[in-house]
Symmetry: C2
Subunit: 134 residues, 2 copies
DNA sequence: TACTTTATTGATAACAATTACTAATAAGGA
DNA sequence: TCCTTATTAGTAATTGTTATCAATAAAGTA
């Protein structure tokens, strides 16, 4: 069943795969799987709360997450990678700061950090001191 | 010049128009304007820091903002409206909480509140007590 | 077992937001 | 005026995603 495959692929993925990432991984083993099936199952799985979904940011790609609970993410504006930010998702902090903003009833929030990820920074440093390779 | 027109339209818009909103408003007066021109000028204006840009959330539409400085937004999951949340954008708070997360160098952040906006809540209440109109 | 109903899938078309491309026009110097 | 640069309209192309739909698989039921 393709849904289980989709689930396994997200769970064993170290980072935050896009739908296309998941598709490419599965189809390397099961070349007959359809892209629509992957999209469909990713949607289902995240609706069921089995996997997490990270809204697109900057580039227009949704990413998925083996951690289903809410937590924060960093978006690298250089390579587009999505990384976990280890801060507990505390709705209380946010809701105390803004109990209700001009009639807007807040139920949740999304906090996305933008910056440069470790890998890209290291690459930058390498280029600064001694050029290894282009 | 169409760029000035685009700018004026965003500045006089009370809320947070999408590119298509801006296009529709301008083309009602200047029917010859092209959609590509509106998209191009909105991108230019936000790159120049003359207008703000609110990353798409939930639905895949970017919104623009007559306020160019960073501030927070609420996204209504019912009607898709984007509203301002009046809290000062304090990078210090956030950056003190996470000076640097596993090598990820944070330069800015985006905080989006999700919930139900005033108008949709009022509509809901109306339907709950006495139905006025469908 | 055979038969019917329900779920899941693959293939592909459709879609929406956005960008790329291009030739035409406008504007601004020399 | 001639030449160069900017800006534009119109349209095609791109991208991520969803809708459609017939084919297949699975599960129940008589």
């Amino acid at each position: 069943m393709q849904k289980a495959l989709t689930y396994e692929t997200v769970m064993s993925y170290p980072g935050h795969p896009s739908a296309d990432d998941v598709y490419r991984i599965i189809s390397s083993e099961h070349s007959s799987i359809s892209k629509a099936t992957v999209y469909r199952n990713l949607s289902l799985l995240s609706e069921e709360g089995k996997i997490g979904r990270v809204e697109s940011f900057g580039n227009g790609e949704v990413h998925y997450d083996h951690r289903p609970e809410k937590h924060y993410h960093g978006y690298c504006r250089k390579c587009g990678r999505v990384v976990d930010i280890e801060l507990s998702y505390d709705n209380g902090i946010i809701n105390n700061a803004f109990p209700m903003e001009d009639g807007f009833n807040i139920t949740s929030h999304e906090l996305i950090f933008e910056g440069i990820c470790k890998e890209c920074r290291e690459k930058e440093n390498d280029n600064g001191t001694e050029r290894i390779k282009d």
